[in-house]
């Protein structure tokens, strides 16, 4: 899962960065604590837009 950095305190990252858990290495115990503390926000997976098939005009 990807996370958006939502504070300027996360070591080595700035607000707006998109990171994964591995980017923090072993320096964090649990990403949930960083989410609860407001340093990270999980990015929701966006569903792709539905496509509409249009019959070609003859």
């Amino acid at each position: 899962m990807d996370y958006e950095v939502t504070s300027n305190r996360l070591n080595g990252h700035k607000r707006g960065d998109i990171i994964r858990e591995a980017d923090l290495g072993d320096l964090t115990t649990d990403l949930l604590f960083l989410v609860e503390a407001g340093h990270l926000s999980p990015l929701k997976v966006k569903k792709s837009a539905k496509t509409i098939d249009i019959d070609p005009q003859e």
């Binding site: 939502t6 504070s7 300027n8 305190r9 996360l10 070591n11 923090l24 072993d26 320096l27 964090t28 115990t29 649990d30 604590f33 960083l34 609860e36 503390a37 407001g38 340093h39």
Partner: protein
């Protein structure tokens, strides 16, 4: 001259969160427990030895300004009570080197926290002790 004056540069991260600008003091206690190995024939007490490996008993004490704002001290620390976390301290914010070593305490336990430590007319501060864990020193 071989002295170190701490002005504003030491860095502190707790659980990957940079709290340098809230920190006013930090102390690393690097300890191997003292095991006595004195035996018959000795004329003085001895401790440790090449064949004796004792347990590390490390701790880090930090003093922080309290702040209840978003993503600040309280939000970062409150959830860490009762669990293990990792702290990283460096003498300066410069790159890690032999003259600016980085100390990492992995698996340190925060037993207690004082969410409110208030006195009239004074800035609120908190003092935390992270106990246990393995201390490693990096110079590159």
């Amino acid at each position: 001259m071989a002295t170190t004056v701490y002005l504003s540069n030491p860095t502190l991260t707790i659980n990957s969160v940079d709290l340098q600008d809230q920190c006013t003091s930090a102390t690393i206690n690097y300890v191997y427990e003292q095991l006595e190995t004195t035996a018959f024939g000795d004329t003085a007490r001895k401790f440790g030895g090449s064949a004796v490996t004792s347990l590390q008993n490390n701790s880090i004490d930090v003093e922080l300004y309290q702040s209840y704002a978003a993503s600040e001290t309280e939000a970062t620390i409150y959830g860490l009570v009762g669990i293990q976390t990792t702290l990283v301290l460096k003498p300066t914010s410069a790159a890690v080197s032999s003259t600016n070593p980085s100390y990492t305490l992995t698996g340190a336990y925060l037993e207690s926290h004082t969410p409110i430590n208030a006195s009239l007319g004074e800035l609120s501060t908190i003092t935390l002790t992270f106990a246990g864990g393995v201390l490693t020193k990096a110079t590159s």
